[in-house]
Amino acid sequence: MSFVNENNPKILIDLDKCTGCLNCQLICSFTYHDIFNPALARIRIERTVDDDKGASFTDECLQCSICADYCVYGALSRTEVK
């Protein structure tokens, strides 16, 4: 089931395809903070103890959508053609 998060309607999220590789967070933090650190990313990826998954964007997200460019699993995709 795909959905969009209100902080970035330009990205379609499909959690079934998310593998938790965190490349979206790594490229986001590297692009805006020059460091690979998921804690500084503007996309949040969660996995609970029971293996439930979650993804959302923070208020600071600029909707640049570089995260989708580095998602090789198709969990994040642009809703508009680049």
């Binding site: 593998t19 590789c21 965190l22 790594l26 103890v49 293996d51 090789v72």
Partner: protein
């Protein structure tokens, strides 16, 4: 030092007195040994007293995370665990994956060294600079899934290395589980943790990793992403992970263990940080006696292998066997080998039912043996000691019934598809019969000859060495090639990159050198990187020559020279291209070639004084035979 690539620290934890100390990483050591496996080897040289009992408090657990971990280098998430392992008595480096090393780096530690023994069960919780040794009495006796779930509920999800009951009961082939789904240290890493009363190590980091040359670094990362995206089989690898080998689904579409069965069980695909393959599966049994059972594994192939080994027609029951092994922390490979030994010895009348019970290829026998080994009941108490002790206890002829090197079972039988580098590597790997560092095109059947030449170059063998490798009546010289496979994998193990063929195929020695240089700021070209890798592997070997291992311990199992009866036919050991049967003399010559290519003493099988000095390992000279 400037913390580019590296986190910059080594954490020391003593479980006996509770002392915790953090020391800065030495920049000169980092340049010399790269990180991960390499720096683990140096720490092992300094910390492991030769001859120490693997289960003694003094035997350290050294956990290493290479300099590329924490970045976007694809698959850079491998954690290396070094110690003296009880099954072989060899100083060994096991490896695992998932989020442990990633969290370790983010917490600020390149290496974590654990020594001593706790008075009562404990777990270690590392949260950035805060390190706690906490009571594990309530989770001692629980399996890996139960224990880690309990700890994650207490501390939230984080990186974990844990043991099940097999480790607690000091089974010699118990292993550690990383994040419940990756294995580490098949030759008794679990027992070493168990001997220290260490149920688990948890780590969570909130920091990040900087690189010295961001633009240059991302250029290399983007090259790798581009190669993966253009690779025609990438989407198949994403869908099926390591089940997809050489372009065809190994188990077919239909049948009890085909693609259709896999799709019914597969609930989620799980990746290590930064990986573009995702080799882990969460399987959920949909119906029947194990309905709802959750099993984490690095490949559905483990289930299929178990099914074939035990002739188990029901997929749910084969999955249950894998589930038990992972929960208990028991190495599937060693278990399968010992299971074969019992089947063979009982069917030939060399072992009677009154000694070992009824042994058949079925689910019930496998289930029963797993329980007995894990809890050391009856025959399980003997089997828990491994190959050497089992044949000794039962008075079996090792030549007839075992296939191991230095106590580790050989999974890759050269009689099946020829003597490739992975088969040969099992003889010379310092930790024993382990194939992993011998990867090459011979992993797949039917690789064309020119592919060996091409890949030897990609893996960093210099042109003159490639000529020597290709100058062989067998097409390529497996002994000479294996030396460069080992050095190539030493790069991966030291930098922290996943070695799976679906990942490492996109890398070359040039790219690795540029990734290392741009990440750490330590300039290193391909030649210097491969020289460092050679140093890393020589020190690995020297660690074990210091323990008393010599060429005699690299002897092929006798079984390799007897025909293998399978599928109604007999198979003899032949070279990779199947030109002719191989003899003991052939193997002796190939071992000579391997030692020659390494510049080692053919008589002892150990590094020469000259080689050690050439590599800047002068300190090791006096400890060689």
């Amino acid at each position: 030092m400037d913390h580019f690539g590296y986190a910059g620290n080594i954490l020391f934890i003593n479980l006996s007195d509770g002392k915790i100390e953090k020391k800065p990483l030495d920049k000169a050591d980092a340049e010399k040994y790269l990180g991960g496996l390499g720096l683990n080897n140096k720490l092992a040289w300094d910390l492991i007293k030769p001859g120490v009992d693997a289960l003694a408090p003094e035997n350290p657990i050294i956990i290493g995370a290479g300099p590329l971990i924490g970045t976007m280098v694809p698959g850079a998430a491998r954690v290396i665990g070094t110690s003296k392992f009880p099954l072989s008595g060899a100083v060994s480096a096991g490896s695992g994956s998932m989020t442990f090393a990633f969290n370790m780096k983010r917490a600020g530690h390149d290496h974590v060294v654990i020594t001593g023994t706790a008075q009562k069960p404990v777990y270690v919780f590392i949260e950035d600079d805060r390190v706690q040794i906490l009571d594990a009495t309530d989770i001692w006796g629980k399996d890996n899934y139960e224990a880690v779930d309990a700890l994650w509920k207490r501390h939230a999800r984080c990186g974990s290395i844990s043991i099940g009951q097999a480790g607690e009961n000091l089974v010699k082939f118990s292993l550690g589980m990383v994040d419940k789904m990756a294995t580490i240290g098949r030759a008794g890493f679990g027992a070493i943790m168990g001997s220290k009363k260490l149920k688990a190590v948890l780590v969570r980091g909130s920091g990040g990793i900087r690189v010295a040359d961001p633009k240059g670094f991302m250029h290399e990362v983007n090259t790798l992403f581009g190669r993966a995206r253009r690779y025609p089989l990438h989407s198949a690898a994403v869908d099926y992970g390591i089940l997809n080998a050489g372009g065809s689904f190994m188990l077919g579409e239909e049948g009890p263990y085909g693609l259709s069965a896999y799709k019914k069980l597969r609930k989620a695909r799980i990746a290590c940080p930064s990986c573009f393959i995702a080799d882990k599966d969460m399987l959920v049994t949909p119906e029947g006696e194990f309905s709802g059972m959750k099993t984490y594994t690095h490949s559905f192939g483990m289930v299929a292998q178990t099914a074939m080994k035990g002739q188990i027609p029901e997929c749910s029951r084969a999955t249950r066997i894998v589930n038990m092994q992972n929960r208990y922390g028991l190495c599937q490979q060693e278990f399968d080998g010992l299971f074969d030994l019992l089947i063979e010895a009982t069917s030939k009348g060399a072992l009677s039912e009154d000694k070992v019970g009824k042994i058949e290829r079925n689910y019930e026998t496998m289930h029963d043996l797993i329980e007995k080994i894990t809890f050391r009941r009856g025959v399980g108490d003997v089997l828990a000691e491994g190959w050497v002790e089992t044949v000794k206890e039962f008075g079996l002829d090792p030549a007839k019934y075992t296939s191991h090197v230095k106590g580790l079972g050989t999974e890759f039988d050269p009689r099946e598809k020829g003597l490739g580098t992975m088969e040969f590597e099992q003889l010379v790997n310092p930790r024993g019969g382990h194939h992993q560092s011998g990867g090459s095109p011979s992993y797949n059947q039917g690789a064309p000859l020119e592919m060996f030449e091409k890949h030897a170059g990609r893996m960093g063998a210099p042109p003159e060495a490639v000529k020597r490798i290709m100058d062989s009546p067998f097409g390529f010289n497996v002994g000479r090639f294996t030396r460069y496979s080992e050095d190539w994998f030493a790069v991966f193990d030291s930098l922290g990159i996943c070695i799976r063929s679906q990942n490492n195929r996109f890398y070359s020695a040039d790219i690795c050198a540029r990734l290392f240089s741009t990440a750490t700021g330590i300039e290193m070209d391909k030649t210097a990187l491969m020289s460092a890798a050679e140093r890393v592997w020589n020190l690995y070997k020297a660690l074990n020559c210091r323990e008393g291992f010599t060429r005699k311990d690299d002897t092929p199992p006798d079984k390799w020279f007897e025909p293998l009866n399978a599928a109604g036919s007999e198979f003899e050991m032949r070279d990779y291209f199947q030109t002719r049967k191989l003899t003991r003399e052939d193997l002796k010559r190939l071992l000579d070639d391997y030692y020659d290519e390494r510049g080692w003493d053919k008589r002892t099988g150990c590094p020469t004084d000259e080689k050690l000095r050439e590599l800047g390992l002068d300190f090791a000279v006096r400890d060689m035979p």
